[in-house]
Amino acid sequence: MTMTDRRRDDEGPLAPWFEAGREAAPRPDGDWMARMEALALEEQPAAVSAAVTPPARRGRLRDLLGQIGGWPAMAGLAAACAAGLWIGVASPDGVAQWWPGDTANAGYTTFDPASGFDFAMLEL
């Protein structure tokens, strides 16, 4: 027995009434349908375009790189670090020629980047 047959059995003496009711199902008018279609389009979310490129991911390292001047600056920094490390480890003889103070106590030499004269000139 199909669902429709079972429903008809249930309907019994009311079957002609329901049959008439189904045939005379209320229909909306065209104006209302047009308004509903306009409402659906008005409420519709904007189309998602597949061509839109997602924003590039930004991390802290990328931000830092940007702040110090990008890859060229990073290359210079890396070269300076490598040179400093080499000077420290190899301690080449030539470095002493460039050092103005006592090389024996170089590690303890106080080096004043700005003299009292400089501060006086700056009125500090």
Partner: protein
């Protein structure tokens, strides 16, 4: 996408396409759901203007729910029928106290002599509507969905959020009440001549 292609898609697929911004999906869903929701509201409320308002509200809620709709959570039609029938029940409750009795239903307008058949059809429909309006709201909801919208008992159970047996009980009681209201008018409405 052409409308014909849209007609092969399920309502759930169409709603996903609607949420993705396909205008054809908006049109297809409106064409598919609008008349059904309006028809149900009309049977529940018996008033065209109110039925239009209620069906519009149900559609609006569907459009606003579309972006967050989770696949497999609910059938679109079940969700819509639930919203529209609940809105109808709210309206019926608000206007309770000024309910129109079966005998108060206006007679259909005078037809042209050639339209006797149409007149009889309208009279039968008006009598059915008046009898439906006399039912308690939950019985009316179950009877309309079962016997006029042609839904299955499990579907109605999902819409009304009750068990299948409770649906069967509601429709049985509704039919019994309708028999009491309508069967005495068989001869008057020409059913004995059919």
């Amino acid at each position: 996408m052409p409308y014909d292609a849209m007609s092969e898609r399920t309502e759930e697929e169409l709603l996903a396409a609607y949420a993705a911004g396909e205008p054809a999906a908006a049109r297809a869903l409106t064409a598919r759901l609008g008349p059904r929701l309006f028809g149900t509201a009309m049977r529940m409320l018996g008033d065209r203007a109110e039925a239009e308002d209620v069906a519009q509200e149900a559609l609006l809620r569907l459009w606003r729910a579309a972006p967050g709709w989770r696949e497999g959570e609910a059938k679109v039609s079940t969700w819509c029928y639930r919203v529209v029938t609940n809105l109808c029940i709210d309206r019926i409750r608000r206007r309770r106290g000024r309910q129109v009795g079966l005998d108060d239903v206006p007679e259909p307008p005078d037809p042209a002599p050639s339209a006797a058949q149409a007149m009889q059809s309208r009279a039968r429909d008006a009598a059915l509507q008046a009898a439906l309006d006399a039912l308690p709201e939950r019985q009316k909801q179950a009877v309309v969905l079962r016997h006029l919208e042609g839904l299955s008992n499990p579907e109605i159970a999902g819409i009304m959020d009750i068990g299948v047996r409770a649906v069967e009980s509601l429709t049985a009681r509704g039919r019994k009440a309708l028999e009491g209201l309508l069967l005495g008018r068989r001869a008057e409405l020409g059913y004995d001549d059919d």
